[in-house]
Amino acid sequence: MSNTQAVRIRKGRSTLTLRRVIAYTVLILLTLLSLFSFYVLFINATRGHYDIQKGFSFLPGRALMANLNNVMSSSEMPVLRGMLNSFIVATGSAALSVYFSTLTAYGIHAYQFKGNNAAFKFILLIMMVPTQVSALGFISLMNNWGLRNSFIPLIVPTIAAPMTFFFMKQYMESNLPLEIIEAARIDGSGEFATFNRIVLPMTKPAIAVQAIFTFVANWNNYFIPSLLIDNKNMKTLPILMAQLRSADWLKFDLGQVYMLIALAILPVVIVYLCLSRFIVGGVALGGVKG
């Protein structure tokens, strides 16, 4: 080995060490930054109202059980019921949205029909319209149809999910060769059966990603549900959370507010961690080869 080469390698090693130090420092800082909010939320759930009101603390308080009892004990705040409702809405939306958007994506991807391209462009266009634009009209429409205190307006409209559609479409472009469908046809599989038995399993990773996104979005949704649901047995968690925040002064308790936030986040964190392998891999699914 020549002298210059040795120098270069040594120099390379020291820069590599330096780069590692920088990389790990930045990663650790970002990790702290990302987990920080979770930490504070959970800490605040253990603190009393006045402590939270007066500001911030890194140390847990002693009000964990008190907050939990208070949140759970009110008859107008059926928290467990709220969780169940949120779960129904979020799961229902996730299931319908993913299934039908995948079906739509498949319809446009696999079949060459008249208006195929126009349909695709139309969906791309509506993807960019902010949801607020049609919110008021939607609410009054649902009211006119007598769909107050019903999960239908919270779940069924998610069948038309442009973002999910777009993701699935992109994914199919690179990961669902049409030959496979052709082969299924030769084997005598019906079109609908092909979709259910072959396409769905093949797109499972992408479906998992979109399912969790839709689940989280609907789990956290306040705006539309708050305007349509007022029956206490149908309220979702975000509505209950807002209800806690508009409590009268005798009952207003930030400790309870944070406890409910913590209770609402916990299931999502658990679901997320369980699915994280899919998600981390899945977002990249539509990934291009340079």
Partner: protein, 464 residues
Amino acid sequence: MKKALAVLMALAMASSLLAGCGASASSASTAAPASSTASSQAAPAEGKVLRVYCWNEEFKSRVEAYYPDYNKDTQMIGDTKVEWVITPNENNAYQNALDEALLKQSTAADDQKVDLFLIEADYALKYTSADAGVAMSVQDVGLTDADMADQFQYTRDVVTGEDGVQRGISWQGCPGVMLYRRDIAKDVFGTDDPAEIQKLVSDWDKFDAAAEKLSAKGYKMLPGFDDTYRVFSNNVSAPWVTDNKINVDPAITQWVEQTKEYTDKGYNEKGNLWSSEWSKGATDKAFCYFGPAWFIDYCLAGYTMETSEADGGKAELGNGTYGEWAACAGPQGYFWGGTWMCAAEGSDNTALIADMMKTMCCNADTATKLAKDVNEFANNKTAMKALAEDTSFGSNFLGGQNVYGAMYDSAEKIVMDKCTAYDQGLNESFQTAYHDYFNGTVDKDTAYANFIKTAQEKYPELKG
């Protein structure tokens, strides 16, 4: 590509016109507010369902405690089922839901009709004006002037429409007082006696002079920007809006000038209401807060404790500034908060509602209990007068002082005949717009322009 878009847009426009026609026709039919004659046509028999619209559980817990006929477990009063429809305030969801229900009142099935709904002072007129036609006159519900003779006049004014008809009633009064630190008072003024301190702050000029003295010793007169806002805004000489024109009253202007001066000279802690700077003032350098009974017991007392009760602290002298406080009437009378009950036009439960209103709002025993159980300043002159004179009814937090006397005087002084349906939005927009001015981000004219802009977004019919 371009063509496809153009066709799409054209299609969208065309169908929007078609769709629009349908929509306007259908909304026109629902747009008419519930007919004001609905009440006279109500079925003579009482309905089996009492639907109550509210934004939190306060009223429900009051009914549980002070309306003996209510069965907490079955949620029944006699054979009438009480349905609590609770929609949170956040994002205006409560008023949206209530409006939606009231607009459908005339066509709704009897059991789906709103029977009773709750409102707050700042937007009361939106529902209690004759024009709105959604709240029944309390006389029609079955209350007489004799029933309400013991109520504080301002609580009746708030829910009285332009036609002089009262359309709501409240069980509580929320007259505010000025709460100050005894230790700071002794240090700066040499006395902590409420009567003496009251002399030092009995009008705004004296109040300003006191602020200067406090500042010289390193204290702050006020914890934030908004503390005196309600005191000024409850004492305006003209309503916010006349003939759709927004009018900034001299009293409100005075608040702007005072607060700007205090901010620039460091007489306040620059806190927004409910911010942590603001509440921390109670254990720091802030001399006084303004608030009614609920504020003292459920907010301020908690802020003053160094170790909170949740963390094992005790509500006693020596824990922060707890017990170091006292109350006096302050420069002007005012109130803060309060909930009013309204019987909805079209309700088929008026007899029951009348009984609830009488029992909860017009009964001296209920009033005394409210004060003793939850420290409420109840809407009953006789009962509150008796408590004010009861020497045993002192507050530990206020060093043994009985604050009901000061509150009683304040409640008697409040004049609320300048209400408009716009108060909530305008008060909010005004304070927000001028915070920028206090913080030095914008000049006075810009703050005013921003206020008008926000006001018109909320109420398109108003002019600056």
